[in-house]
């Protein structure tokens, strides 16, 4: 009983509270910056579509059938996934901050859940990235 009590009743002390509050500020800033960069990349792609098509056509010596379409699809998929990740990160920051300031355990827990979701995404992409590196090492 004593051991169970100590597991589930670790108090968020002053130091931990302050660190979590600052963490929430930085995670929110990071999330917003990445979301802005995603928007800028999409706008850049949209406005310079024709120019990029010309450059790629010249560099690939004319063999670009459907290449720009593939590029667009990849960019959109990456943007959507990154956008979802940053949404969870920003929401986590807001919830943790609100939970700390209002001493709302539910809000605080929900913020941690969103932060976990963000790291789940990151972990999955890390694993996929590693697997693709391993496949590239396999001699053809």
């Amino acid at each position: 009983m004593e051991e169970q009590k100590s597991l589930f009743e670790i108090e968020v002390d002053d130091n931990a509270g302050k660190e979590m509050n600052e963490l929430s500020k930085w995670t929110k800033l990071f999330g917003i910056i990445v979301l802005c960069l995603i928007a800028i990349c999409i706008l850049f792609l949209a406005f310079s579509w024709n120019r990029l098509d010309e450059v790629i056509t010249v560099e690939a010596a004319g063999e670009t059938a459907g290449l720009m379409g593939v590029v667009a699809v990849i960019v959109i998929i990456v943007a959507v996934i990154a956008g979802i990740m940053m949404f969870f990160l920003v929401r986590s920051a807001n919830r943790i901050r609100r939970g700390l300031h209002n001493r709302d355990q539910l809000e605080f827990n929900d913020g941690l859940a969103d932060l976990k979701t963000f790291f789940v995404f990151m972990g999955i992409f890390s694993i996929l990235s590693l697997l693709s590196n391993l496949f590239n090492l396999i001699p053809s």
Binding site: V12, F30, F108, L115, K116, G123, I127, N133
Partner: protein, 147 residues
């Protein structure tokens, strides 16, 4: 638990919140996934180093102008890769420390490490933010020079 606002003048972090069963589960999950991220990153760095020093240094060296200049490799590529790996290791160190310290806190081994663990996570995000800003500015400069 009813949410309560901190009275005027009182430190807002003094009491009230606990790492209950739900928060414990979430922080444990975060610690597990951050450890996975660190392990995959380190394995990736090892693979990159193996690739660099196994004689496959040259990527593409084309006689075409402009675009293909960015594909030349050699000692500059090795230096850049090593710099990137060092930066990545530094980043992942803080993530690893968060994982280790939060686990120690949650298992009761060293319950006072909660603040320290989240400080490491905070530093991780600070570095990530700064690197992304620098990377974006670098991209802007490169795009401007290409235009």
């Amino acid at each position: 638990m009813e949410p309560t606002n901190a009275p005027q003048g009182q430190d807002i972090f003094t009491s009230g919140l606990k790492i209950d069963e739900t928060a414990h589960r979430h922080i444990t999950g975060i610690a597990q996934w951050t450890k996975i991220i660190v392990i995959t990153a380190v394995i990736g760095y090892v693979l990159v180093l193996l690739g660099l020093f196994s004689g496959t240094r040259e990527v593409v060296s084309s006689s075409n102008e402009g675009f293909s200049d960015y594909f030349r490799s050699g000692s500059q590529g090795v230096g850049g890769a090593i710099f990137g790996i060092i930066l990545g290791l530094l980043l992942n160190y803080f993530l690893y420390m968060f994982s280790v310290q939060s686990r120690k806190t949650l298992t009761g081994t060293e319950p006072g490490l909660l603040g320290s663990s989240f400080r490491n996570l905070k530093i991780y995000f600070i570095m990530l933010t700064v690197l992304w800003i620098i990377g974006f500015l670098f991209l802007l400069v490169v795009s401007a020079s290409l235009a």
